[in-house]
């Protein structure tokens, strides 16, 4: 019978050296960059086209998102149904998404079918028609969806905190109103499409068990597309001056959506990497201070998390939770108490070692499979970084000291710098 009171000997996770599998970089005939990771045991692959066509480039609210949405909704040769049927027939998944700086068209498929699918992906990039009828259905249905979302406290809180941090005019803070859908018209979508898709700038990311002639295939379907550089317009941050907000959204609400946030520099700032460890300790995982105190000791919430926003230009440090209506103020007080503790008392070695081990273990676990690996690469490349950043992050986790963390807490975890919002 084993002695269960003694834990088995472990290899400290900080002694592991996670490796980011290198990614191949090459260019198509027209200069489009391709990044690929050929790995994995299954005959599956992903192919993602990332366009510089996010809402950062639009002059009117929703133009970027709507253009991206309607990419799949008709070309001269195929209507929306035929496009969807084509991908679904081959069991493939073609999705599109619009972000702040970029937007994507992303294909997941069994590798054996990729040849049947690429011609249609090309069609979407070169010949989308944005039919009036499709636009009208989109407007109608998205307005209904917005109505439903506006009944959710977490949705409303998410919009408002971004406005406080970045300003309503900034792409990171801009949000959608019902009437924004009404003023969309097909001509401006087509114009945006011509400039940022047909003749824009895009990067390709491919991962999985890739076909041996991938280079020829991508050149055949995307290597002749006209592409030109795009310049990112500048948008000034306009953070709110008022810091504290209490909003009533639903008279029958039983929980409050709490968001506490401050601005934070982007990944190129030296503190970004260092603060990741402080964030983990504070609210970044299940064993964090916030989770241990506010969920596991007080039971005020199902979950509480802190994180740095994944923005390219300007980030923010956010604390987010849904807590019982009657314990919202107590929850906020505990969050500030935890900040104060981190400012005043250096973390002990045992707790810090736990956080470090968790973080390294988590990076090891996240690198499971080609899609996760290309995901890491994509994030690095779109942020103008390379794998040195990955290794520096690991080195920082391993070497950061309690004193450095306390110093960072004194710099950043200062109550008066935070916006504070409760939506019930």
């Amino acid at each position: 019978m084993p002695d269960r009171s003694i834990a088995p000997v472990i290899v400290d996770a900080v002694d592991f050296n996670p490796k980011l599998q290198p990614c191949e970089k090459w260019t198509l005939k027209n200069g489009v960059e391709v990044y690929s990771v050929n790995a994995g045991a299954e005959e599956l692959m992903s192919l993602e086209l990332v366009f510089y066509a996010g809402n950062w480039f639009e002059e009117k609210n929703l133009v970027a998102a709507t253009t991206n949405f309607l990419l799949k909704n008709g070309t001269r040769q195929r209507n929306a149904f035929q496009i969807n049927e084509h991908f679904e027939y081959y069991g493939a998944h073609l999705s599109r998404a619009c972000y702040n700086e970029t937007s994507t068209l992303s294909l997941h498929t069994l590798t054996k079918h990729v040849r049947e699918l690429l011609p249609v992906v090309r069609e979407l990039v070169t010949d989308a028609q944005m039919p009036e009828e499709e636009l009208s259905i989109y407007q109608q249905n998205m307005k209904q969806r917005l109505k439903v979302n506006l009944r959710k406290a977490d949705f409303v809180a998410g919009r408002l905190i971004d406005v406080y941090l970045f300003g309503e005019e900034h792409p990171y803070g801009r949000y959608t109103r019902d009437e924004d859908f009404d003023t969309l018209n097909r001509e401006e979508l087509l114009q945006f499409y011509r400039r940022y898709y047909q003749q824009g700038r895009f990067i390709i990311f491919a991962a999985g068990k890739l076909p041996s002639d991938l280079e020829a295939l991508l050149n055949e379907y995307f290597g002749d597309l006209p592409t030109q550089p795009v310049t990112l317009p500048t948008h000034a941050l306009q953070p709110a001056t008022e810091k504290k907000y209490r909003i009533s959204n639903d008279p029958d609400g039983v929980q409050g959506s709490i968001r506490i946030a401050r601005e934070f520099p982007n990944r190129h700032h030296p503190d970004f990497i260092r603060v990741q460890t402080l964030n983990s300790l504070f609210g970044g995982f299940f064993g964090s201070r916030l989770m241990s105190n506010i969920r596991e000791d007080k039971g005020y919430t199902y979950g509480i998390h802190s994180y740095l926003l994944n923005h390219i230009h300007d980030s923010a440090w956010m604390i987010s939770t849904e807590a019982g209506k009657e314990v919202c103020e107590a929850t906020i007080a505990e969050v500030y108490k935890e900040m104060k503790e981190l400012r005043e008392v250096a973390v002990d070695d045992e707790e810090l070692s736990l956080v470090k081990n968790f973080m390294i273990g988590s990076i090891l676990g996240d690198l499971d499979g080609p899609f996760q690996i290309i995901g890491r690469w994509k994030n690095l490349i779109l942020n103008g970084l390379d794998d040195q950043y990955f290794y520096k992050s690991i080195e920082t986790i391993k070497s950061i000291t309690p004193q450095e963390l306390q110093e960072l807490a004194n710099r950043y975890l200062v109550e008066k710098d935070f916006y504070e919002l409760v939506v019930v």
Binding site: P2, V11, A13, E42, E88, V148
Partner: protein, 412 residues
């Protein structure tokens, strides 16, 4: 084809080993054959609350999470109406930590009063977050209770009401543990960068001396065949009217399950599915519509749910849905349409099987269903479905007397 080895300990614990050396990680998955369907009708939500308590310390280990995090591991768990699953990933060098933690909590929990008190509150907040503080959050509570009169699928995993969770006592927790959390009721899967020999040795060492306990015999009241159409109306402070309809379908291992699975996909599984194309795009009656099923082990439900476009009446919407169902009952689906949903299924399974954790979970699930090897037969079962099967199943499934309908009105 997923390869695995299998053995059983003398206390009845079934163990499956799935090796994949392409990852530096190991996965440990412990699935207990207990879910919300095994609960007392006056104590619903208990299986799920119990899952939370499994993290409140075990007999020899006061804190479950800390040693795991120290070993670079992560874990989580979920409860369904049918089962409860716990899973860990960690660097394979530290695999023994997972054995130590999981075996100690299978041996016995700490049964700590404070942990119960806190987790009651946490689960109540989870209940509020997902079911009370969301528009349409009460739909499935209602629809389950309309469709099921006898079978315990009539309540949700989270529980029928907050009061059931608030009333949970420590003695209930103890009784539940010794009834359901015994080696005989569990399947252990170890996967990733591991060997069968290593797993055998570690399993014997850590799980071998846990008492077998009594075998739990499941005797659930079976749902009598429904003989008349059921209808219900609700009015709530939501912005848009919504339509829901569901039908009783076959249990998980029945051949008819696979037919119904493909059938729901034909109707509402994507942007080229019938309901979406006809009702959202062509007729513009719904702003969104889906058709899906619960994937339950016992006889489950196939459902259609959709939100109505403003100005459309519930009767118009229902009539249009019925017209699509009528087509399913009268005309055979084309080979292309059937092949499409089969291809989608093949692809979906392949993508799921990419992750070691997902493979480990599936092996445990099929072993609980009866045999882990079933996992490798799924594609053949789908491939065997014919257009004639779809036609016949549509006629059986979509009988009016087999249906429950919910009109969910936006309060004006």
């Amino acid at each position: 084809m997923i390869q695995f080895d299998r053995f059983t300990l003398s206390n009845g614990l079934r163990v499956i080993v799935h090796q994949d050396t392409s990852t530096p990680m190991a996965v440990m998955n412990v699935m207990y054959d207990v879910g919300a369907r095994d609960e007392d009708p006056d104590r619903t939500g208990f299986a799920h609350l119990f899952e939370h308590l499994m993290f409140g310390g075990s007999v020899n280990i006061p804190d479950y999470d800390e040693p795991l995090q120290m070993a670079g591991g992560e874990n989580n768990a979920y409860t369904t109406n049918d089962l409860t699953n716990y899973y860990i990933t960690l660097p394979s060098e530290n695999l023994e930590t997972a054995f130590w933690l999981e075996s100690d909590r299978m041996l016995s929990l700490a049964f700590d009063e404070k942990s119960l008190e806190v987790q009651r509150k946490v689960v109540c907040e989870e209940f509020k977050e997902h079911y009370l503080n969301k528009p349409y959050g009460d739909v499935w509570h209602t629809l389950r209770s309309v469709a099921y009169k006898e079978h315990p699928y009539r309540w949700m995993t989270i529980g029928e009401k907050l009061a059931h969770i608030e009333d949970a006592k420590l003695e209930d927790v103890k009784a539940f543990f010794f009834k359901h959390y015994r080696p005989q009721n569990a399947v252990l899967v170890v996967a990733g960068n591991v060997t069968t020999e290593q797993v055998k040795t570690l399993t014997e060492k850590w799980f071998g001396d846990i008492p077998a306990g009594d075998k739990y015999e499941r005797h659930l009241p079976q749902e009598p065949e429904q003989t008349e159409a059921r209808k219900k109306e609700m009015h709530a402070a939501v912005p848009v009217d919504a339509f829901y309809k569901c039908w009783h379908m076959a249990s998980r291992l029945d051949k008819r399950y696979y037919i119904a699975d493909l059938l729901t996909d034909i109707l509402g599984g994507g942007a080229s599915s019938r309901l979406y194309q006809s009702l959202v795009k062509e007729q513009r009656l719904f702003s969104n519509i889906e058709c899906f099923h619960f994937g339950s082990t016992d006889a489950g439900l196939a459902c259609i749910s959709g939100k109505l476009v403003k100005g459309v009446t519930m009767e118009q919407a229902e009539k249009a849905v019925e017209a699509e169902l009528e087509k399913m009952k009268t005309a055979t689906v084309s080979d292309t349409e059937l092949q499409k949903v089969k291809n989608k299924t093949e692809s979906m399974i392949a993508f799921e099987d990419m992750s070691v954790m997902s493979r480990a979970g599936s092996l445990a699930y099929y072993e609980i269903l009866g045999d882990a090897a079933l996992m490798n037969q799924e594609l053949d079962r789908y491939a065997a479905v014919t257009a004639a099967d779809i036609l016949q199943e549509s006629r059986i499934l979509f009988r009016p007397e087999n249906s429950s309908t919910l009109y969910y009105y936006a309060k004006q």
